[in-house]
Every structure is written in structure tokens, then in C-alpha cells.
């Protein structure tokens, strides 16, 4: 792959956005849940996004360990 494993930016962006959302939901949950039918969607969806980001990063990490460095 050219210079950059895409799973690194995808993973880190979603981990960061997920953490921001979940943190915000945790901090201000009840007021936020009014629109989203009583569900603290920021918290739950943020957690899911964080997990997705972490998964992407771990896949990138494992791939880095396995493939021998190509003489680019």
C-alpha cells in the first residue's frame, strides 16, 4: 500500500470521534436524550464508533507486525 495504511487514519478518526461523542453523552446525558426518544445516543453510538476505530487500529497494528517491510 502506498505509504500509508488506510486503517490508521480511519481507525484513529473513528476512535477519536467516538470518544468525543461518548464523553459528551456521559457529561450531558439526560438533556441530550430528549430528541433521540429517551436514548442517550451520543454515549451508545460514540462507544460503538470507538470500538470500530479501535478494531481498525488493531488490524493495522497486526498487519504491520506480519508483513515484512518492502523495500519501497
Amino acid at each position: 500500500m502506498m505509504g500509508l495504511d488506510i486503517r490508521i487514519p480511519v481507525g484513529s478518526m473513528f476512535a477519536l470521534l467516538g470518544a468525543l461523542l461518548a464523553g459528551y453523552g456521559l457529561f450531558d446525558g439526560t438533556a441530550l436524550s430528549q430528541r433521540s426518544l429517551g436514548i442517550n445516543i451520543d454515549l451508545w453510538w460514540g462507544a460503538i464508533m470507538f470500538a470500530f476505530g479501535a478494531l481498525m487500529l488493531s488490524l493495522a497494528w497486526r498487519a504491520r507486525g506480519r508483513t515484512p517491510a518492502r523495500g519501497d
Binding site: 500500500m1 487514519p9 461523542l21 441530550l32 430528541r35 436514548i39 470500530f52
Partner: protein, 567 residues
């Protein structure tokens, strides 16, 4: 809509990553092949997601939700009939010629297979089209941001232009592809909760179907008109789209869909960036898997919105009316975001929309700079310069392409009719294309003169058909009937489908006739370009399930099941 600090932070994080990806890829851009074709080095799952994402501009997202409200489940025909079969055909049958011939663009394939004039015709119309599509994308984004966030037209246009410019200049096609992957995930994560909340609000799937049944009956249709596809297409009167099954299957499912997915360089370029022939062939097949499921992400919100409007969801969501009293369907997505998403999620939803506007632009710009540099500049202006020269020309073309898009956005803002007219002309030019490629790839006797004259005849047939027919109660003019009115179609969609069918038939017939009257090329010159003269690609080294034919069959089976489920 009232964004707060958290929403702005989320949008800024996205913009920072977009520019960061460009900066990180800068070092890898050393040759023109790196810049225009990502050095043909990208794995299939990435090109596959980019392939589907490049087509998933925000107009598509907003338009599909609007159609979901207007026409219901039948809108998914644009995916299950109007995309999947063509994507499978591209991957299994056509990609060996695109990738195998080492053509660097779709027009260049036409040069290798036919001749220079056919390539130039295709390259010029395509280049003009991409610039205007990119401009229209910018224009639509500016209108939406003005409405949602109160941003000025110029601010939105300049912001999107500068960001897209920077990341393409830095990272070329790879940057565009990486950002398309980012956008793919943003759309999924931004819209899935919207569907879940909307469904919960209206009482689940059962509540949705009950609401849509009541509404269909109140509008004089069968109860399942908004919930079915083929079963309401016996006659145009039975469905809100006003089309019948033959126009749907031939017009959309064959001519328009194969014409777009199999010949449009904007999507094909993603596959050409793949690391190997196998990866290139798998690109549209991998893309077809999420594509199949996208109706649940982009069409379902429209169905939920209309059912809530008519039947009433618990939280009181309703679509607004336009000045003329009709429902404002284009507001489905923006309004649902504002209604169901609290701050935080709102930022994510807006980011997903902005991302799809910008990748829509970037996709057009990367296709434009490649076609301009290889098919117009290198062919007609300066043929034998060094590679570095073409890399620089590509960068200048990127700046020029974005400059022209900005101009187009302003033109669209001033004169809306000009854009309608241009889109109509593009439809005429595109409609016959698939006949040319089909005959070129699968009939070795077809000739350059045949292809060129066939394309012109197809475009002329499209224009003539449009000029002689008119949908519903429209007045003669941009909707048709500007020559004379010989036939009334029940809807504009039916007219579009039939325009495409006529254009394809005319192009096919004229290409065959002219080819038979002109001298064919030597067979040895066509090896690798025509099916019957090319060795079948061997794919034995891959696991059986990853072979294009197996993957393609699996994807078609999936589409068939979805068609039957929502028959």
C-alpha cells in the same frame, strides 16, 4: 438546527484528517502513474469501498431519501436492478479489458480498441461533464449549508474548493480514494442511527408498513404500492413512479445502469488503481455487497419520513410543505438529522453530508485531471514530454478543474435552467455509450468509424426522442416535446428510461451497419481488447470464493433474494 461547540469540534476533526491524509501521502506522489492511478497499488477492499463511495455523493443520498418518500420501496430498483447486475458485469467480463489493456482511462481504451476520434469525442464530453457535476455538487452543498447553518454561498464554495484542492494536489487519486473510504464509514455511522431512531419512533417495521399502507390507499393506490417493487409495475398507473416493468428492466436495468457503471471513468478509475488484475476485477464485486444494503440506509429514511408525516410518529416528525402546497421531499435527510439527533450526533450527521459532497467533487476532479492530461493534452497538445511534465500538467489541471467547478457553481446559482439543460445534454451523450463498449469488447468486427458514427446517432436519437415526447401534463420545453408531441409518457422517469432505450438501439444498429461497411482492423491488433481474441484470465491461485465469477454469482443471488423479498 442549533450546532454547539461539540458539533463544530466533530466537523473540524474530520477536516483535519482529510488534510492530514493528503499530507501523509505527499511523499508517495513521484510519477504521473502515482498521481493519476495510485501507482496501481491499492488492495481490492479499499478500491471497492471507494468505487461505491465515489458514486454516493450527497445529491444521491438526499435524492434517494426524497425518492423513498415519493415512490417508496420501488426506489431500491435503482440499486438492485439499476446497479448490481451492471457492477457484476463490469467485474467479471469487462475489467479484463480495461485493466489488461493497460489503458490509463476509459477514453484511452476507446483509442486502443477503435480510433483517435472516438476517444476524443468521449474524452471531451466526459471532461466537460465532470467539471459541471463537480460544480453542481458544490452548488448543492452551498445551498444546504446556507439553509442549515446560515453560511454564505461564497463561504461554502470556497471552503469546499480549497479543501478538495489541497488534498488532491498533495495526494492525487490515492488521497481521493482514501477520503472516499473515510466517507463510506461516515455515511454508515452517520445515517444508521437515523434509521434506527426513525423506525423506533414510528413503531418499528410494523408501524412503518401500516402507515405506508394507509397512505397508499388514501392516494388511490393498492395498499402495498409503497412497499413493493415489481408487483406494482404491471402498469404505470399502479405505482407512484409511473413506470412499467419493461421500461424499468430495459431502460434502467440495462441501458442506463450498464451505461453508467461499466463506462463511466469516475467509477472505473477506482478499479484501475487496484494492485492487480484480480483486485481490479473484485473491486466492483466487493462494492456491490454494501451497495445492495444501501437502500436500507438512504431510502428507508424517506419512507419513514412520509409515513410519519401522513400517519404520525410518536415524536411528531413531519415534512414541510413547499410554497405550492406540495411536500418538500428534498428535506427528508436534513430535517430528520435536526429532529432526531442531539448535539454531538448532529455534528456527525452534518459531517457525513459534507464528506459526501466533497468526495463527490473530488471524484469528478480526479477523473477530470486524468482525462485532460492523458486523453487531451498528451494526445493533441504535447505528445512526447517527460513523465514529470505530465505530473505537473495534472496538478495544473487539478487547479483549473476546481476553478471551473467554482465557476459552474456560480452559474448554477444564477441560472438554474442552464444546469437543467446541461444535465439533459449529458443524458443524451451518455445514453448510447454502453452499446459502443458492448460491441467493442464482444464483436471483433466493429470498427472505429462504426463506433464514432454510432455514438453520434445514439445521441441524436436520444435528443429526437426527447423532442418528440412529453411526460404527463408538462408543457413543451425542457421536459420534452420541443419538436412536436407524438407521445405522452405517464411520468418523467418513464420518458427518461425510454429515451435511453432508443439511444442505445440507435447506437447499436448504426455501429453494426457502419462497421459492416467499413474495413475491420487486423485481428492481431485486437488481442487483449476483444473478448474472443483474449485468453481468459486465470484465477486459480485465489481461494475459490474470491474468484470473480463465484463472487459475482453470489452477489447476483443476493440481489435476487432482495428482489423477491420486496417483490
Amino acid at each position: 438546527m442549533h450546532p454547539r461547540a461539540i458539533d463544530w469540534v466533530i466537523m473540524s476533526v474530520y477536516f483535519a484528517f482529510v488534510l492530514g491524509i493528503g499530507a501523509a501521502l505527499k511523499r508517495a506522489m513521484r510519477t504521473s502513474t502515482d498521481f493519476f492511478l495510485s501507482g496501481r497499488s491499492i488492495p481490492a477492499w479499499i478500491t471497492g469501498l471507494a468505487f461505491i463511495s465515489a458514486n454516493l455523493g450527497a445529491q444521491e443520498v438526499i435524492g434517494m431519501a426524497a425518492s423513498g418518500a415519493k415512490y417508496g420501496m420501488a426506489t431500491s430498483q435503482f440499486y438492485w436492478v439499476g446497479a448490481i447486475p451492471a457492477m457484476v458485469f463490469l467485474g467479471v467480463f469487462m475489467m479484463p479489458f480495461y485493466y489488461g489493456s493497460r489503458a490509463r482511462s476509459v477514453p484511452e481504451y476507446l483509442k486502443l480498441r477503435f480510433d483517435e476520434k472516438t476517444r476524443t469525442l468521449n474524452a471531451i464530453t466526459f471532461a466537460v461533464m465532470t467539471v459541471f457535476s463537480s460544480g453542481i455538487s458544490m452548488y448543492a452543498m452551498a445551498l444546504l449549508l446556507k439553509l442549515l447553518l446560515g453560511w454564505g454561498f461564497g463561504t461554502s464554495v470556497m471552503l469546499s474548493a480549497v479543501i478538495v484542492l489541497v488534498y488532491i494536489l498533495l495526494g492525487g487519486l490515492t488521497s481521493a480514494i482514501y477520503n472516499e473510504v473515510l466517507q463510506f464509514f461516515l455515511i454508515v455511522f452517520g445515517f444508521a442511527p437515523l434509521v434506527l431512531l426513525g423506525l423506533k419512533d414510528i413503531g418499528g417495521w410494523h408501524g412503518l408498513t401500516e402507515g405506508l399502507k394507509t397512505m397508499a390507499v388514501s392516494r388511490g393506490f393498492a395498499p402495498h404500492a409503497w412497499l413493493s417493487t415489481w408487483s406494482v409495475m404491471g402498469s404505470p398507473k399502479d405505482n407512484p413512479m409511473g413506470v412499467e416493468w419493461f421500461g424499468m428492466a430495459m431502460g434502467l436495468g440495462f441501458v442506463l445502469s450498464f451505461g453508467y457503471w461499466c463506462t463511466d471513468f469516475l467509477v472505473v478509475q477506482r478499479a484501475l488503481a487496484a494492485e492487480s488484475m484480480q483486485a481490479a476485477r473484485r473491486t466492483p464485486l466487493i462494492a456491490a455487497i454494501p451497495k445492495m444494503l444501501f437502500p436500507f440506509l438512504v431510502i428507508l429514511p424517506g419512507m419513514i419520513a412520509i409515513a410519519s408525516t401522513v400517519h404520525g410518529g410518536a415524536s411528531g416528525f413531519a415534512l414541510p410543505h413547499k410554497a405550492d402546497g406540495s411536500l418538500n421531499y428534498d428535506m427528508v435527510i436534513p430535517l430528520m438529522l435536526g429532529h432526531y439527533f442531539p448535539n454531538g450526533m448532529l455534528g456527525l450527521g452534518l459531517t457525513a453530508l459534507m464528506a459526501s459532497f466533497m468526495t463527490g467533487m473530488a471524484g469528478n476532479v480526479t477523473a477530470f485531471n486524468t482525462v485532460w492530461t492523458y486523453d487531451i493534452y498528451q494526445t493533441h497538445i504535447r505528445p512526447r514530454a517527460g513523465d514529470h511534465h505530465y505530473l505537473n500538467v495534472g496538478r495544473i489541471a487539478t487547479v483549473a478543474g476546481i476553478g471551473l467547478s467554482v465557476a459552474a457553481a456560480y452559474v448554477a446559482n444564477r441560472f438554474n435552467n442552464i444546469m437543467d439543460l446541461l444535465q439533459l445534454l449529458f443524458a443524451f451523450v451518455n445514453a448510447p455509450l454502453f452499446a459502443t463498449f458492448l460491441l467493442g469488447m464482444f464483436w471483433k468486427r466493429s470498427t472505429g468509424h462504426g463506433a464514432f458514427i454510432g455514438l453520434l446517432a445514439g445521441t441524436a436519437a436520444a435528443a429526437a426522442h426527447h423532442g418528440l415526447t412529453i411526460p404527463g401534463t408538462a408543457l413543451p420545453g425542457i421536459k420534452g416535446g420541443w419538436i412536436a408531441v407524438l407521445h405522452h409518457y405517464p411520468s418523467q422517469m418513464a420518458q427518461n428510461f425510454w429515451t435511453a432505450i432508443w439511444a442505445f438501439a440507435a447506437c447499436f444498429a448504426v455501429t453494426v451497419l457502419v462497421s459492416l461497411a467499413t474495413r475491420p482492423r487486423e485481428e492481431r491488433e485486437l488481442v487483449g481488447l476483444v473478448y474472443s481474441l483474449t485468453e481468459r484470465p486465470r484465477s486459480a491461485s485465489r481461494a475459490w470464493f474470491a474468484r470473480p465469477a463465484v463472487l459475482g454469482a453470489g452477489v447476483l443471488l443476493g440481489a435476487l433474494i432482495l428482489n423477491l423479498m420486496f417483490w
